[in-house]
């Protein structure tokens, strides 16, 4: 490693001299030198999935696809791959209709995915455009202690307006992430994180045909507001894949028969059982490394612990539209109230006119459940997503938060990541309504209190007469 690697918080001229010495061997101090010394920091303006960045030199690898994200381009400089992250305030569209005021990197939260190859030397410039100091910790990496990014412990924090340089060699392949380790609670609650993928030097090792990555983050944004309440510890209302919620999360696509890897990192403060429909998978890697084949076992749900990553792999053998979601049911909801009375079985339509005299826009809801919400379009507070929404080919999806769809199709092109649309089910393979006659099966009686509801009484009388 070079001796001149730390960008000291010192006068500009000295920093330029140092950086120039390292990068191009020029001693002249000018804007030109400065521009060459620090690689460009690409900026992303869109929250949609960007095409994978295929390697143009060096070992071949299958680049990852970041859900609703992108991979940070790098500059080769001798034996170094140089990246430039800019920590800055960003506006992140969490789904159409809701924009969160977050902190992130290079225009988005999460920041761009960094991809490199096992054995690469990476030099990562980090410019701080936040109003407070920051650092970046390279979660899971083996690196010199002074590159670990823990403010105060292994380095001084990067003050606003300053640029620091991290340099290390990627000693093992696998699934990693980066996030601040300075005012960490606030900065992660504000959305500062990104994935860091190290591809094996041997292109044949752990080869997959599709390789997806996303990070789990939770936010508490008061309905009608835009900035997360960073002091919240448990009661979050937006559970996100890459700072996106359903129906704003990209679909995953695979050609039938392809080997698919999905890498998930968890930077929330609770665990997330990530569940895939229609396939069994194995956890093939964690942020600690690859799991040897003989130590893997089949699963349909991988619990991703806090501060951990899981890479799961499977053969996409089953055509269709397969749900991929956190199995905590509240995590597939957007902002909702938790103190609401349960009006199931309580008739209140007759009170509607009375309440409407006081509140003209009032509509009775929740008498049978909460599915009303998925079906009705009603005025909500500004910048607030419905608790559940989304429309599929058969009706409302009634989902939110950590939910998306894996679309497996016959005959897709190898690197085609475009949404193929809803699955065309072969005739006779969709659940259907029974229209023939059948005896009323015996059923348990409902709660005694519901006797009062006239409509419930009618139903009860019917089946009671069938019973006796």
């Amino acid at each position: 490693m070079d001796t001149k690697k730390r960008d000291e918080p010192a006068p500009v001229s000295r920093r330029d001299l140092l950086a120039g010495g390292v990068l191009i061997g020029a001693a002249a101090v000018s804007g030109h030198v400065q521009a060459q010394a620090i690689p460009e920091a690409p900026h992303m303006a869109h929250p949609t999935m960007q095409p994978p960045l295929f390697p143009t030199s060096g070992p071949d690898y299958r680049p990852v696809v970041t859900l609703n994200g992108w991979t940070l381009p790098f500059r080769r400089n001798g034996e170094w791959k140089e990246f430039h992250l800019v920590a800055e305030p960003v506006v992140r569209e969490m789904a159409p209709g809701m924009r969160a005021h977050l902190w992130g990197y290079n225009g988005q939260s999460p920041g761009p995915t960094i991809e490199a190859v096992e054995g690469d030397k990476v030099r990562i410039f980090v410019t701080n455009k936040l109003p407070e100091h920051t650092t970046i910790h390279w979660h899971g990496m083996r690196l010199p202690n002074g590159m670990d990014g823990v403010g105060g412990l292994t380095q001084p924090q990067i003050r606003p307006g300053k640029t620091f340089v991290y340099e290390f060699e990627l000693r093992r392949s696998g699934t990693f992430m980066y996030h601040p380790h300075a005012d960490e609670m606030v900065q992660m609650a504000m959305g500062m994180m990104g994935a860091f993928i190290v591809h094996p030097r041997d292109p044949a090792f752990q080869r997959a045909d599709r390789d997806y990555v996303f990070l789990l983050a939770s936010y508490d944004i008061e309905p009608g507001a835009a900035v997360p309440r960073v002091s919240e510890m448990t009661d979050f209302n937006l559970w996100t894949f890459n700072s996106r919620v359903f129906p704003g999360i990209d679909h995953l696509v695979a050609r039938k028969g392809e080997r698919v890897r999905i890498r998930v990192g968890n930077l929330t403060m609770t665990n997330h059982p990530i569940h895939l429909h229609g396939h069994e998978f194995a956890v093939t890697g964690t942020d600690g490394g690859w799991v040897p084949p003989e130590r893997r076992w089949p699963e349909v749900t991988a619990d991703v612990p806090v501060g951990a990553m899981r890479a799961v792999e499977f053969e996409a053998t089953e055509e269709g539209d397969w749900a991929l979601h956190c199995h905590k049911s509240h995590h597939t909801m957007n902002a909702m109230g938790h103190g609401l009375a349960n009006f199931i079985g309580v008739p209140k339509r007759d009170l509607e006119p009375k309440i409407q005299r006081l509140v003209p826009d009032y509509m009775a809801m929740g008498n049978a459940g909460m599915a009303d919400m998925g079906e009705m379009e009603m005025l909500l507070p500004d910048n607030t997503l419905p608790m559940m929404s989304g429309q599929g080919q058969y009706g409302p999806l009634e989902m939110g938060g950590m939910f998306t769809v894996l679309k497996v199709r016959e005959g897709m092109a190898a690197n085609d990541y475009r949404d193929p649309g809803w699955y065309r089910h072969p005739p006779g393979t969709v659940a259907y309504e029974w229209t023939g006659g059948a005896p009323t099966p015996p059923r348990a009686e409902g709660p005694a209190g519901q006797d009062a509801a006239v409509e419930v009484q009618v139903v009860r009388r019917q089946h009671m007469s069938g019973n006796h």
Binding site: G337, N342, V346
Partner: protein, 350 residues
Amino acid sequence: MMRAPLFAAVLGLAACAQVAAPVDAVSVAARVADMIGVATTVIATEAEADAVRERVRAALVRPLTAETAVQVAVLNNRTLQAEFLAAAEEFAAMEAAVALVAATRRAYFEAVAAQQVAGYLEQALASAEATAELTRRLAQAGGANRLDQVRAAELYVEVANDLRRGRREATLAREALTRALGLWGADAAYALPATLPALPAALSVPAGAEAEAIRRRVDLAAARHAVEHEGAAAAHRLEALAIDVRSEVRAAYATLQSSYEIARAYRDEVVPLRRAIDDEIVYRYNGMLVDVFTVLSTVRASLAANVAAIEALRDFHLAEAEFRAALIGGGVVRSGATVVPHAEEQAGGH
């Protein structure tokens, strides 16, 4: 009640026994009318009584305005008639007249406001009733416990009591007006407008208000008259009164100005903000972020704010009546009462 018409008729006959009013009484009434700018007449004969009754009934055909109320009172109030006919002391009649004008205005605004407030309290009760009924049904289905149920039931009774108080206030305020108007029987069923007069677009700064009061105040005129007859002591009393009158004008205007600003803030800010709060709560209800109980309790809070807005507008009108009285006489300051008699808080449903 049954005997009242007969009783009044007997009295009426007695009062109208005289063939004609004394010349003094007629001239006093004329000077009073000129001074207060409101027509009046002496009722001494049946024919005069009939004529006044006709004029009063014509005035009561439409919902009463403040000016019509003053006109009816000055024509029809029997205490004022007694002052005209007593006529021993012209100033006493004038003081009675300005006091009646001021009292009628006050009673009018109190009565209209109290009736309007009662209407809002009815809405608050409807909200509490919906809350209680929903909670009862919720408990029946197993979705609420006994604590929730008894709380909702208790709230309903409290809000119902607020409405009872509000209706009583409306009745008492109306009776005070009825007395000032000198009405009874079918005439007492006069109609009031549903709402108070709107706040004027601007409040004009009265130029020379103090000088005007010194010129017009009835009590100052009486004090001047006393100086002519009683000498030095009365001169000191006159000067003291003049100093008080000037101060009263300034105080009444200060009250008027602040009442105006408060009423305007309610109209332009509080009420629209409460409406925005109601809207936002409905949006949150739509998003299943809050339930119907939150909607109903928010509505009750907004109703309370509307009640406060009515009371602020009423206070403005009372302050205006008091300011007019400060210029001519009859204000409550002289009798030691508060400048703006503020009704008890009627904003129930918290």
